[in-house]
C-alpha cells in the first residue's frame, strides 16, 4: 500500500474527527446536547483506557507472557462491577466540589493545599510522559510497517518527522477543542464525542482483525483452539503474586490515571451514567480482549521469527494480502493512540495550568492587576501552552528513548506511578481523619520509591542509574539496591516496586494523618467529601476567629430580633463569667451562635454569615450552593403559605355563604312564625270578641245564633289550619308514611270533583272531562293524590272569576308518566305571582273567600314530591292551569 494513500486516509480520518468534535460542540452550545450526554457516550469515552498499548501491545504481551495480559482488563472490571460505589462517590464529589482534575481533588480534599496539587501534578506529568511517548511511538511504528516492504522492517528514515507531525497535529486538535471555554465544569463535548467515535473504530478494527485471523487465516474456532493448545502460550503458568499485583495496579490505575479521572469524573454529565458504565464498560473490555490470544498464537506461528509481536494486529492482515483490513487496523491503533494523547494532554494541561502556572503568575503579579477577566485569559493561555508543553515532553521522551522498551513495560510502569495517588484519594473520601501532612508524606514516599525502583531503572543499564548502584546499592549500601530494597531479593522488579511503594505510601499516609491535626478548612472539606451523600455541611469548627463580639451581636439582632439576641449574648457572657452583653468570641461561643442562627436562617447561611465576620475562613462554592438551596426551600415554603392563605380565603367565602344562607333561613323562619301567629290570632280574635259579646249581653235569638255560628266557623278554620301545618311539617321532613295502593285515575278525579263541590256550592261550575282517556290504574298513595286533586279543583272553584266558570281536566299518558292538566277559564295568575303560589301562606287575594291559610298548594307540592312526581303552574292556557305529573308506578 502506497505510503501516500496511508497519509491521505489518516488525514481524512483526522478531518472527520474534527468534524465530529465541531458538530458536537456546536450542538452542546446550542443546548441540543441530547444524546451527547447519553450513558453510551459516557461508556465509550471511558474506553480511552484502551490505548495503543492495549490495541497493539496486548497481543505482544500475550505472545510474551501468556494470559497475564488479562490482568489489565481484570482490574478495571473488578472496580466497575464490584466497586462502582467508589466511582459513584468520586463522581458525586467531583460534581459537588467542581473538581477539575485528580490533582484538584487531592488538593481540595486536604484543605485546598496547593502544595499537594503541585505534587500530584508533577507525579502525573512524570508518569504520563512515557505513556504519551509510547502512543507516538506506536503510531510511528505502524506507519513504518506500511512504509517498508517487509513486514518486520520498521526502521524508517524519517521516523522522527512522523512523530513530530503527529505531535503537532494532536497539539492543534487538543488546543482547538480542549481550551475553547473555561467553564466551571470543564466539560468538553466535542472531545468526548470524538473519543466515543474513536472507541467504536478501535473496537470494530480489533474485532475485524480477530475474525479475519480466526476464520480467514486459521480454519475456524476449533482450529484456533488446537493451535493455542499447541503453542507456547498454553504452557503459561499463573504466577499468583504477579497476577494479583497487576490486577491491583490496573484497578488502582482506572481510578487514578489523570486521563481516566478526566473522562470518568470531570466529563461526567450525569451520575446515573456510572450505573450503565458499570456493566457496559466491562463488556467493552471483554470484547477488546476476545481475540487477543488467537491473534498472538496465529501470529507467532505464521510470521517469520523475530517479527515484533506488538505489531501482529497490523502485520498479519498485511502478510495475508488484506490491505484494506490492515488499513482499518491501522486506523484502530491510530484512534487508540490519539484519543489517549488528547485526553491525557487536556488532563495534564489542566493540572499544570491550575496548580503551577496560574498560581505562579498570580504570585509574581500580586498587588498589580487582579481583574477577573485578566486571570481568565491567563488561565486559557497557560492551558494552551501546557498542552503544547506536555506533548513536547512526550515527543522529547520518545526522541530520547527511541523505542527502548517493549510497549507493555512502559504502560505498567506508568500505571504503578499513577497508583501512588490511591491511598490519599481513598483515604480522603472515606476517612475524615486523613490529613494534609499524611497525604503529602504518603505521596512523596510512594512516588520516591517508584522513581527509584521502577522509573529510573527503566531507562536501562547505565541509563540514569549506574549498573553499580543497581547491583550494590547507592554508596554501597546493599539494602538500598533499587530492585532489592531491605535485602529482599528475587522479586520481580515491577512487583517489588509496587509492593514497597504502595505499602510504605499507605503506612506513612496513615502515620502522618494520625500524628497531625487537620486545619479548619481541611476539616470542613473532609466532612464535605466523606459525608458527600449526607450533604449537610456540618460543623465547620471556628478555630481562630477575628470576629468581634459587637459585630456578631449586631448581626444576630437582625436575624433573631434584638431581645432574643441580647438574651442569648448575655447568657453566653455569664457562662464565661463576664458581665454585660459581649462574651469573648471563643470558638465554642461562635459554634453555639452559629447553631442558634441556623435555627432562623438555615445552617449554610448561618455558616456563611459567620464566616464573613470571622474573617479567616472563605465561603466555598458549596456553601453558596447550600445557601441557594435553602433560599429555594424558603421560597417553596412561602409558596405553600400562599396556597394555605388562598385556601383560608376560600373557606372564609364558604363560611360567609353558609352564614348568608343561615341568616336567610332565620329570616324565613321568623316570617313563617309571624305568619302562623297571624293566621292563629285572626280566627281567635273573632272567637274571643263574639264569645265576650255572647256572655255579657242579652241578644235577640237570631243574633245569638249568628254569632255562635261565626264562632263555630272560626274554630273549624283554626282546626283546619293546625291540620295543614302538621301535614306540611310531616311532608317537608319526608317522614310521610306512603300508603301505596292501586286506583283507577278516573275514579279518583270523580271523587275529587264531588268532594270539592262543597266549596262555594252556590256557584255554577262546569267540569269538562274525557272519561275515555282517564281510565288507567295508578299505583301510588291514592289518598294523598286525591288530596292534591281536591285542592286544585277547590282552588278553581274559589278563584276562577269567569262569568260561567269552566274547569277542563285533560289526561295524557307519556311513557311511564301520566300528566293531568287542570285548566280553568278565569283570568289566571299574574306572571310575577306564578313563582309564589307554591310558597307557604302565599295567598294572593283577600282572605274573605279563601277560608284557608294559604298552605294548600305548598302541601300539594310536597305531596307530589313525595309521590315521585311534580305539580307546576302551566302558563299561557287562557286561565289558571296546573299540571300534575305522576309516575304510573311509585318507585319505592
Amino acid at each position: 500500500m502506497p505510503f501516500n494513500i496511508l497519509v491521505a486516509v489518516s488525514l481524512l480520518y483526522v478531518v472527520v474527527l474534527f468534524g465530529v468534535a465541531f458538530v458536537a460542540e456546536r450542538r452542546a452550545r446550542g443546548g441540543l446536547a441530547g444524546w451527547l450526554r447519553s450513558p453510551l457516550v459516557y461508556t465509550l469515552s471511558l474506553s480511552i483506557y484502551c490505548t495503543a498499548w492495549t490495541f497493539y501491545g496486548a497481543v505482544g504481551y500475550a505472545a510474551r507472557s501468556g494470559l497475564e495480559f488479562l490482568t489489565i482488563y481484570l482490574g478495571p472490571t473488578l472496580v466497575f462491577v464490584g466497586w462502582w460505589w467508589v466511582l459513584r462517590k468520586l463522581v458525586r464529589i467531583g460534581r459537588a466540589q467542581r473538581v477539575t482534575s485528580i490533582a484538584d481533588l487531592i488538593s481540595s480534599r486536604y484543605g485546598k493545599s496547593n502544595f499537594l496539587g503541585v505534587l500530584v501534578t508533577l507525579m502525573a506529568v512524570l508518569a504520563s510522559t512515557p505513556y504519551i511517548a509510547l502512543q507516538l511511538q506506536s503510531v510511528t511504528l505502524s506507519f513504518g510497517v506500511f512504509a517498508s516492504d517487509t513486514p518486520e522492517g520498521w526502521a524508517l528514515p524519517d521516523q522522527g518527522a512522523t512523530a513530530l507531525w503527529l505531535a503537532a497535529g494532536l497539539t492543534l486538535f487538543t488546543i482547538l477543542f480542549g481550551t475553547r471555554n473555561l467553564d466551571a465544569n470543564e466539560r468538553h463535548h466535542g472531545i468526548v464525542m470524538a473519543i466515543a467515535v474513536e472507541a467504536v473504530v478501535k473496537l470494530v478494527a480489533l474485532l475485524a482483525v480477530g475474525i479475519f485471523v480466526v476464520w480467514g487465516v486459521a480454519g475456524g474456532v476449533a482450529d484456533v483452539l488446537a493451535r493455542i493448545d499447541a503453542s507456547a502460550i498454553s504452557d503459561w503458568n499463573l504466577k499468583p503474586g504477579r497476577w494479583a499485583g497487576l490486577t491491583f495496579v490496573s484497578a488502582a490505575a482506572i481510578l487514578t490515571l489523570p486521563r481516566m479521572f478526566q473522562v470518568m469524573v470531570v466529563e461526567n454529565a450525569d451520575e446515573r451514567h456510572v450505573a450503565t458504565a458499570s456493566w457496559a464498560f466491562p463488556l467493552y473490555l471483554m470484547l477488546m480482549s476476545l481475540f487477543v490470544v488467537p491473534i498472538a498464537v496465529v501470529g507467532l506461528e505464521i510470521m517469520p521469527a523475530g517479527s515484533n509481536p506488538d505489531l501482529f494486529v497490523l502485520t498479519i492482515p498485511l502478510s495475508a494480502g488484506a490491505g484494506k483490513l490492515a488499513l482499518l487496523a491501522f486506523l484502530g491503533g491510530f484512534s487508540s493512540a490519539t484519543s489517549m494523547v488528547i485526553v491525557a494532554a487536556i488532563a495534564l494541561a489542566t493540572m499544570v495550568s491550575n496548580h503551577i502556572v496560574t498560581p505562579l503568575w498570580l504570585a509574581l503579579r500580586v498587588g498589580s492587576a487582579r481583574a477577573p477577566g485578566d486571570v481568565r485569559g491567563i488561565v486559557l493561555m497557560s492551558r494552551r501552552l501546557s498542552i503544547g508543553a506536555v506533548l513536547a515532553l512526550g515527543y522529547t521522551y520518545y526522541h530520547l528513548s527511541g523505542g527502548s522498551a517493549a510497549l507493555a513495560a512502559i504502560g505498567l510502569i506508568s500505571f504503578v506511578g499513577a497508583a501512588q495517588v490511591l491511598p490519599a484519594m481513598i483515604g480522603g473520601i472515606y476517612w475524615r481523619g486523613a490529613t494534609h501532612v499524611g497525604a503529602a508524606m504518603g505521596l512523596i514516599t510512594g512516588f520516591g520509591i517508584w522513581l527509584y525502583c521502577l522509573f529510573l531503572p527503566s531507562f536501562g543499564a547505565d541509563g540514569l542509574i549506574s549498573t553499580q548502584v543497581m547491583a550494590e546499592g547507592p554508596f554501597g549500601i546493599g539494602w538500598l539496591r533499587p530492585q532489592a530494597l531491605f535485602g529482599i531479593v528475587g522479586l520481580d522488579p515491577l512487583l517489588h516496586a509496587l509492593f514497597w511503594s504502595i505499602l510504605l505510601n499507605t503506612a506513612t499516609f496513615l502515620i502522618g494523618s494520625l500524628a497531625s491535626f487537620p486545619g479548619p478548612m481541611e476539616r470542613l472539606q473532609g466532612v464535605a467529601f466523606v459525608n458527600i451523600f449526607d450533604q449537610s455541611s456540618g460543623p465547620g469548627g471556628w478555630v481562630k476567629s477575628a470576629a468581634e463580639a459587637e459585630d456578631l451581636l449586631s448581626m444576630s439582632q437582625r436575624i433573631l430580633g434584638p431581645e432574643e439576641a441580647q438574651r442569648f449574648f448575655q447568657a453566653q457572657a455569664a457562662a464565661q463569667g463576664k458581665l454585660g452583653f459581649l462574651p469573648d468570641p471563643t470558638p465554642d461561643f461562635i459554634a453555639r451562635l452559629e447553631r442558634q442562627l441556623a435555627g432562623s436562617v438555615g445552617a449554610a447561611t448561618s455558616h456563611a454569615m459567620i464566616a464573613q465576620l470571622s474573617g479567616g475562613a472563605t465561603v466555598s462554592v458549596q456553601d453558596l450552593i447550600a445557601v441557594a438551596g435553602e433560599a429555594q426551600q424558603i421560597k417553596e415554603y412561602s409558596a405553600q403559605l400562599e396556597a394555605k392563605s388562598d385556601e383560608l380565603a376560600r373557606t372564609a367565602r364558604a363560611l360567609r355563604e353558609a352564614n348568608d344562607k343561615l341568616t336567610d333561613l332565620s329570616v324565613q323562619k321568623d316570617a313563617f312564625l309571624s305568619q302562623i301567629s297571624h293566621e292563629l290570632r285572626t280566627p281567635m280574635t273573632s272567637i274571643r270578641a263574639f264569645s265576650e259579646i255572647l256572655m255579657e249581653v242579652d241578644l235577640p235569638d237570631e243574633m245569638r245564633t249568628k254569632y255562635a255560628g261565626i264562632i263555630h266557623d272560626e274554630t273549624r278554620r283554626l282546626t283546619r289550619l293546625l291540620d295543614d301545618l302538621l301535614d306540611l311539617s310531616v311532608l317537608e321532613n319526608r317522614r310521610v308514611q306512603s300508603n301505596i295502593g292501586v286506583a283507577n285515575l278516573h275514579d279518583l278525579l270523580s271523587k275529587a270533583v264531588t268532594s270539592a263541590s262543597n266549596t262555594r256550592p252556590d256557584r255554577a261550575f262546569v267540569v269538562q272531562r274525557d272519561a275515555a282517556s282517564e281510565h288507567m290504574p295508578v299505583f301510588t298513595d291514592t289518598d294523598r293524590l286525591l288530596q292534591v286533586f281536591i285542592n286544585i279543583v277547590s282552588n278553581a272553584r274559589k278563584y276562577c272569576d269567569a262569568e260561567r266558570a269552566v274547569l277542563r281536566i285533560e289526561v295524557k299518558k307519556r311513557g311511564r308518566i301520566v300528566e293531568i292538566d287542570f285548566i280553568d277559564n278565569g283570568s289566571g295568575i299574574p306572571k310575577k305571582s306564578q313563582a309564589l303560589i307554591f310558597e307557604k301562606f302565599a295567598r294572593l287575594t283577600d282572605t274573605s273567600h279563601a277560608g284557608g291559610a294559604g298552605l294548600g298548594l305548598a302541601i300539594c307540592r310536597e305531596i307530589m314530591a313525595n309521590l315521585g312526581g311534580s305539580i307546576d303552574y302551566l302558563p299561557g292556557q287562557g286561565g289558571a292551569a296546573f299540571r300534575v305529573r305522576l309516575p304510573l308506578k311509585r318507585a319505592s
Binding site: 309571624s674 301567629s677 297571624h678 290570632r681 285572626t682 280566627p683 281567635m684 280574635t685 273573632s686 272567637i687 274571643r688 270578641a689 263574639f690 265576650e692 259579646i693 255579657e696 249581653v697 261565626i710 266557623d713 272560626e714 295567598r843 287575594t845 283577600d846 282572605t847 274573605s848
Partner: protein, 125 residues
C-alpha cells in the same frame, strides 16, 4: 262617645263585624272599609274622629297608610288605633314609629278596645 265617627279598616269580615257591634252599642257611628286602597281620599271624605287600622291588609300595609296620613297636615293629629294579629314587640315599635296613637294585639278583650277608643275619642275631640 256619642256622635263620634269612627272609621275601621279591617279585611277580616268577622272581626270587623265584632268591632262594629261593640262600638255601635256605645252610640258611635262606625264606617267599615275592607281594604286600604284609596284610604286618604276616603278619610278626607269621612272626616272620622278616630281611625281603627289593621296592620296587615291584603293589598297594602297599615303602616304605609299611617305614614301617608301623618305626612298630610289634615291628619297629622288624627288619633289612630293600630290593630295587629302578630303581636310581637317589633310590630308595636314599628307602629309607634309610624305615629300610631295606640296599639292593640289581636285577640283583644272587648273592654280594652272600648277603653282605648274612648280615650282616643276624648283626646282627639
Amino acid at each position: 262617645m256619642r256622635d263620634k265617627h269612627i272609621v275601621l279598616i279591617e279585611d277580616e269580615p268577622n272581626i270587623a263585624e265584632a268591632i262594629r257591634f261593640i262600638l255601635s252599642r256605645e252610640g258611635v257611628r262606625v264606617t267599615h272599609h275592607a281594604s286600604g286602597a284609596g284610604a286618604l281620599a276616603m278619610l278626607q271624605a269621612e272626616r272620622p274622629d278616630v281611625l281603627v287600622l289593621d296592620l296587615m291588609l291584603p293589598d297594602r300595609s297599615g303602616l304605609e297608610i299611617l305614614a301617608e296620613l301623618r305626612a298630610a297636615p289634615a291628619f297629622a293629629a288624627l288619633p289612630v288605633l293600630m290593630l295587629t294579629a302578630r303581636g310581637q314587640n317589633r310590630d308595636r315599635e314599628a307602629a309607634e314609629r309610624a305615629g300610631a296613637s295606640a296599639f292593640l294585639a289581636k285577640p283583644f278583650a272587648n273592654a280594652d278596645l272600648l277603653a282605648v277608643v274612648r280615650e282616643l275619642a276624648r283626646g282627639g275631640a
